[in-house]
Amino acid sequence: MHNTELQRIADLLRTEGYITEPSVTMAVYLSMQLQKPLLIEGPAGVGKTEIAKVMARALDTDLIRLQCYEGLDASHALYEWNYQRQLLHLKMIEARGNEGKPLDDLEEEMFSEKFLMKRPLLQAITHHKSPVLLIDEVDRADEEFESFLLEVLSEWQITIPEIGTIKATHIPQVIVTGNRVRELSEALRRRCLYLWIDYPDYEKELAIVRGKVPQIPQQLAEQICRFMQGLRQLRLEKTPGIAETIDWATALAALHFDHLPKDLIEQTLGVILKDWKDTRTAQLSLTELYEKMSVMSKFDAM
């Protein structure tokens, strides 16, 4: 019974164009069943954020995204009063003359939801239907923010002094991603399930490319993926991820190439490598990479 549910999620993800590994499916499944946030770590460009997007589509719900950055604070993550609007409102009442309204009512009015600007976290817990909440690159935010996040994630409620405590109407499906810019706190890790996504192997990458760029000729797709696999073995400053592979494949397919000659690689290296030093490293070992790719392709043909 359970495995069919697991299968259903795998299918859902697949139909939404996400090629999964069993570990990804399992993590998503358990995170949904146990209603625990899922912490996803891995190198850049392996599709961490994509999981949340696909999940939202698969569950047919909204995706609420909180992009973290240095200095992110509660007013940007939770809520903020719309001061300008409050001020304007006050002026308007003043201009019109206060029609004998008791002060208490007036105050109540000033701090009603009308003037409350909901930021992603508050949005997520007051949403009309359980959304997917993506907290992206949480390690970019400061440690203070992390502890504050913990509170929200464990209590599922937010206290606004002027209004009171707002409880979650639905518990959102939380995905937290990290790039390991800094080590996350133990407390946050413990609150979450954990998933590590690495660069895909050849078969998986090929499947992803074929899924994302359907018009691509088979041979070109295979060669691109082989080349990328070899490229990632080099010691690079910034190893290209799946996003780069797809960009490259899209570009080459649009140019109607059906295979990957060496000079074409050299000309289009800029699509996959974004660092001049990496480009140089790749150029130096291009011949070797290219030969490796050809040999492997021949093996496949056999």
């Binding site: 359970h2 697991l6 570990s23 399992m26 069943q33 146990l34 409050q86 006050l90 080590e183 590590w196």
Partner: protein, 439 residues
């Protein structure tokens, strides 16, 4: 059959110190008299209708029911497995155990890979743990099956423990950690006043003076930290008008702007990255440096600590829970061949590729090493250049530089120097004090 089971339970229990669970396990072993034991434990189904976390008391309360006993077999094994992981350095508490048990209820344990995945997702917290998990999982469940298959087994856990302490590098480290064995007598050692101690090379200070030295170091560090803090206050004069807060504060006056409020610029954003050489010749200096640097915790936004000898390791997290010496000890327990040489170039290269993101214009990098590199020298300059480009400041501390006739002659040092902003020694308290002005 009965006997075998008892044996197996004892084996599991051997790894589980104390606790009521211990008692239960043995008892359950005795009571267990029928059923398909020889098959793997994955064949036992969990009660799936119950999503409650199964705790120890839970297990206790159902021991008497034979029917449920079969189910709890798996539960007990998972709990024991959690402890097994804990013994291997995983940070797992009751909460994680509960999560694992709940997770296991959602998969059929027959399928080993699925089962492993479910446990992995709920019990791992870092990549390193993910890497270790598969191996440990296989080991553990295989051992369980073995325990059922064979009659007599010597206690491997005991053997493991023996092996651990036989590692020479570990022993060496331990002996040093027990106290500085460098008992060399010097003339000044009898006059243990602050001044003489401050000027002495760390390696020449005898172990009974260590507490005193640590106290001095702490004082110096605190004084420096205060100074740096003050320095920052002064530059805070540049205030920025805060419209939002001004409006907020003046709301009660009906929107007349009477009180103005200002934003202060962000607090010190500087991040400190320490790369400490802990090979044999350097570990003593590294200990002092790291201790010293942690007094600056409140000055800097973040301090990241790495240690290297043959390989690079990030120990920032460990340092939050234990001191540097314990963290090092744990590391040498885990890594075979630790501190069997110094690969400065390779280690720095690893730092650049794996943790390059830590470097930006707000980062000060402090490297402590004597520059004796066993790597070929091409790697080091490249890595250093990279670090220098990205970081705000690179400080290289070399304890040997404390000798008046020292010249940076080693190839590694020569190669690194062009990419270093500050080259200084860190061999005694005085030089540590001087370090303050570079931060």
């Amino acid at each position: 059959m009965k006997f075998l089971h008892l044996l197996f339970y004892r084996r599991v229990v051997a790894k589980v110190r104390g606790s009521s669970f211990n008692k239960y396990s043995v008892r359950a072993g005795r009571m267990y008299s029928s059923g398909p034991h020889r098959s793997s434990f994955f064949n036992h189904q969990l009660r799936t209708q119950n999503d409650e976390p199964r705790t120890h008391s839970d297990i206790h309360s159902i021991t008497h029911s034979k029917l449920i006993q079969r189910h709890t077999n798996l539960t007990a094994n998972i709990v024991a497995f959690c402890r097994y992981l804990r013994a291997h350095g995983f940070r797992i508490g009751p909460e994680e155990e509960a999560t694992a048990l709940r997770a296991a209820a959602f998969v059929t344990p027959n399928d080993r890979t699925t089962f492993a995945l479910a446990l992995q997702v709920s019990l791992t917290r870092t990549v390193q743990e993910v890497d270790q998990f598969t191996k440990l999982f296989e080991e553990y469940w295989k051992e369980l099956e073995n325990a059922l298959d064979s009659k007599i087994k010597d206690d491997e856990s005991k053997k493991d423990r023996m092996k651990g302490s036989n590692q020479p590098s570990f022993d060496a480290l331990k002996s040093w950690l027990k106290g500085n064995t460098n008992q060399q007598e010097t003339e000044t050692a009898t006059y243990s006043t602050t001044e003489t101690l401050s000027c002495q090379d760390f390696s020449l200070i005898s172990s009974d003076q260590l507490p005193e030295l640590e106290r001095i170091l702490r004082e110096v560090a605190q004084a420096l930290a205060r100074k740096i803090n003050r320095r920052r206050e002064k530059t805070l004069h540049a205030k920025e008008f805060d419209l939002r807060n001004t409006l907020r504060r003046n709301l009660r006056r009906g929107g007349e702007l009477l009180e103005l409020s200002y934003k202060r610029p962000q607090r010190n954003k500087t991040r400190l990255v320490i790369l400490a050489d802990v090979s044999k010749s350097m570990d003593l200096y590294s200990t002092f440096l790291v201790q010293f640097m942690y007094a600056f915790q409140n000055v800097f936004r973040q301090i990241e600590t790495f240690v290297f000898s043959t390989e690079l390791h990030r120990i920032t997290t460990e340092l939050k829970q234990q001191n540097f010496e314990d963290a090092l000890k744990k590391l040498s327990d885990r890594e075979a061949g630790w501190s069997g040489g110094t690969r400065i170039g390779g280690s720095l290269q690893t730092f650049v590729t794996d943790y390059g993101r830590l470097l930006n214009r707000e980062t000060i990098v402090v490297i402590l090493s004597d520059g004796w590199d066993t790597d070929e020298s091409t790697v080091l300059p490249e890595a250093m250049q990279r670090i220098h480009q990205k970081a705000r400041k690179v400080i290289w501390l070399n304890p040997l530089a404390g000798f008046s006739d020292y010249k940076p002659r080693t190839a590694a040092m020569q190669a690194a120097l062009p990419h270093v902003d500050v080259f200084a020694s860190a061999h005694n308290v005085e030089s540590m004090r001087a370090l303050g002005k570079w931060l």
